[in-house]
Symmetry: C2
Amino acid sequence: MSCHPVLIDGQWRPAVSSSSFNASNPQTGASLDESYPVSDWADCDAALEAATVAARQLRSMAPERIADFLEAFADQIEKQAEALVEMAHLETALPTSPRLADVELPRTTNQLRLAAAAAREGSWMAANIDTQAGLRSHFAPIGPVCVFGPNNFPFAFGSVSGGDAAAALAAGNPIIGKANSSHPGTTRLCAEAAIAAIEATDMPRATVQLLYRTSHSDGERLVADPRVGATGYTGSRGAGLKLKAAADAVGKPIYLELSSINPVVILPGALRERGADIAQDFVVSGLMGTGQFCTNPGVTILLEGSESETFVEQVRSKYAEAPAGILLSKSVESSLTAGIETLVAAGANSLTSGTAAASGFSCPNTLLSVSGSEFLKAPETFQTEAFGNCSLIVVAQDVDEVVAIAASLEGNLTGCIYSDTQGSDDDAYDRIAPELRTKVGRILNDKMPTCFSFSPAMNHGGPFPAT
Amino acid sequence: MSCHPVLIDGQWRPAVSSSSFNASNPQTGASLDESYPVSDWADCDAALEAATVAARQLRSMAPERIADFLEAFADQIEKQAEALVEMAHLETALPTSPRLADVELPRTTNQLRLAAAAAREGSWMAANIDTQAGLRSHFAPIGPVCVFGPNNFPFAFGSVSGGDAAAALAAGNPIIGKANSSHPGTTRLCAEAAIAAIEATDMPRATVQLLYRTSHSDGERLVADPRVGATGYTGSRGAGLKLKAAADAVGKPIYLELSSINPVVILPGALRERGADIAQDFVVSGLMGTGQFCTNPGVTILLEGSESETFVEQVRSKYAEAPAGILLSKSVESSLTAGIETLVAAGANSLTSGTAAASGFSCPNTLLSVSGSEFLKAPETFQTEAFGNCSLIVVAQDVDEVVAIAASLEGNLTGCIYSDTQGSDDDAYDRIAPELRTKVGRILNDKMPTCFSFSPAMNHGGPFPAT
């Protein structure tokens, strides 16, 4: 089958390309029929030229028109919802319900409409007017934004439909989407919805463009190109750090969400008070989406004692009972297996011995444990991200050790602390929270890290390398 | 004479150091008597340890107390004003009046008091409270901030007294100042004022620390240290880019003001209307402080025609008449000479043939010119910063060429456009301004780039490499 065309300057045109790739069906492991091109630099260059023209036009456009476009884009996604959900399920194996059709797609259109409201309202510009000094300052469009979306949210973080794209567009910047290789078809359908909205609202043709894949070196060249305004990336740490180095070298802004193990501290009073409920919350959070959330609880820190032993046993038995889910891709399966091997080689004990799903990409539900003192001997290694249905329990001997573990952490998106309602955990909380705060983008009290609300008060970011 | 001690954890203690340096008197070129240490890593490490403790204490401190300290610091600087001005004049040759005593020192204490007001007022935290979702977000202290100050503002951008230091302190972060090597004595006196204020207001001892110099490799290690929150740097591009690379590699925030040639576009209608006034403004702006301002008008773009010829001749004769000023240091003199040589070698014509000052660090006032088409053949080379009393005039053949020149520019702090009041320049303005806007941090209409007001609406920053 011939390759799909790329979207450059409003037209689906044959890619300039010498190779192609196919996505897989994660439920079977089989390659899908549709082929997508790996673009040469010529495609990147053409997209950049078109985006430069679009950026000039968008710069002086009334915010109202940008908002109309974003709303039309949301409408088009809803019109194509059935086809989009079907394709995303085929390419990611994420459940249609509850998830793709009734959670993620509505979230995505909601994001686009919130972006439209933000464009209309204009406070993102942070205008500051000093009439006495004759000064006006405000933020303004920055130029074409490259968006590299992740594998785990085909719509809501998608390269042309997701949060980074919506934010860039709302601020008057054209986007160049680079599809995630695990769901090129889903991204193509989203781009078709974008083009329909561009035509309906008479926007510059290159407001949204789409390439499927490039060589690594062309990707690095792209984010560092003088015509680029900024880049948004969500994905693996290795690939992200290479893009960051390329952008940093020429001073181009790049915003990356790379990895996060989302430490959860559960204090003994909370376990005595409601240990079984917390264990249930933990299992739901840890295995949701087969653990493939950027806010998955990767490391849980407990204090030595019988409450903690009971908690670990409750979680272990639930991990053993629950069927192993399907992973997004072969590479997620390989990274997860490698991550578990690294943790075990460093001294973590495996508490589970389940099996993977009978077919497709899968790994057994895995619960590991290590003592606090062992963790502190190799904190970097024990922070290896095992993206998927695996969690590491760290059992500390006292609160001092918990504080030391918190101090040894890299940056994370979230940090959670469970404490009791009677005050017996308060001293420990007051010592642990200030340290944990400096390591995470948001602190959650008595909630699992996957807990998320849409609100301007929600911070989804954290210290490097989380973002 | 023995070396001055460094300020670590509230104490002036002998540096761990194997070498030292002396500043020079720019008016004579002679070395000054006082020796200052080049610290080994042991000093950096000790300062980082002390700063980590101070950061923990500052994190939970009432903003009111931080504000009180900043105001006490301003008071102490005023108490020591005479000694500070005398030392700064000795080390920089900047005039006592109008400048060090009556402009820069009051500006510096004003900045510290504005920082105190900002700390009290708290809107920098951008608190966002969503009671319905139970969410609160706000900015918070980031940890110890390293400050590398520049040579050209010994107080107002000074490593312990300047804007970066004031901003870091207002947000509850301890600072580690690295003195500029051209005025270590001034920085020492500022640190003494800081310590007096720390004692008077009972702040953590390591709230303000001071090292004078380190090896380049220790500087790079310092900004990348896990204990550091962020770094502020103002200075040369070469040294700054090395620090940036070191900080970027580990994802540490670093904010740098590196270089800026501050393009000024003067349209023909404005020259016909008030060319002599603009020429006078230009000469004042270009030679003020011997051209050693980050907003010095380094490149001026004119359109071919008799108005422009008259303007250039007016400026040329004033540059020839004005005595050459004193430069801040030997290295400024060397860089300026090298910058002029690079521009001339690339094809710029020198319009002036004056002489340097009879003694001390100095360079003749220099006006260069090049055609727009020549500029566009090597735009990178013609953007070589010649920091000091040198300006390059670019004569474009038409507005298209001005737009192309604007498009070829790197990031700058400022961009200025002069146009007439009758509207004959409006078409040109409307084509040039949108392009120039994308290249600069602030656009000034009918003003020279050195024009500056203190206001929350004033943006002092720009696209890379300006910042």
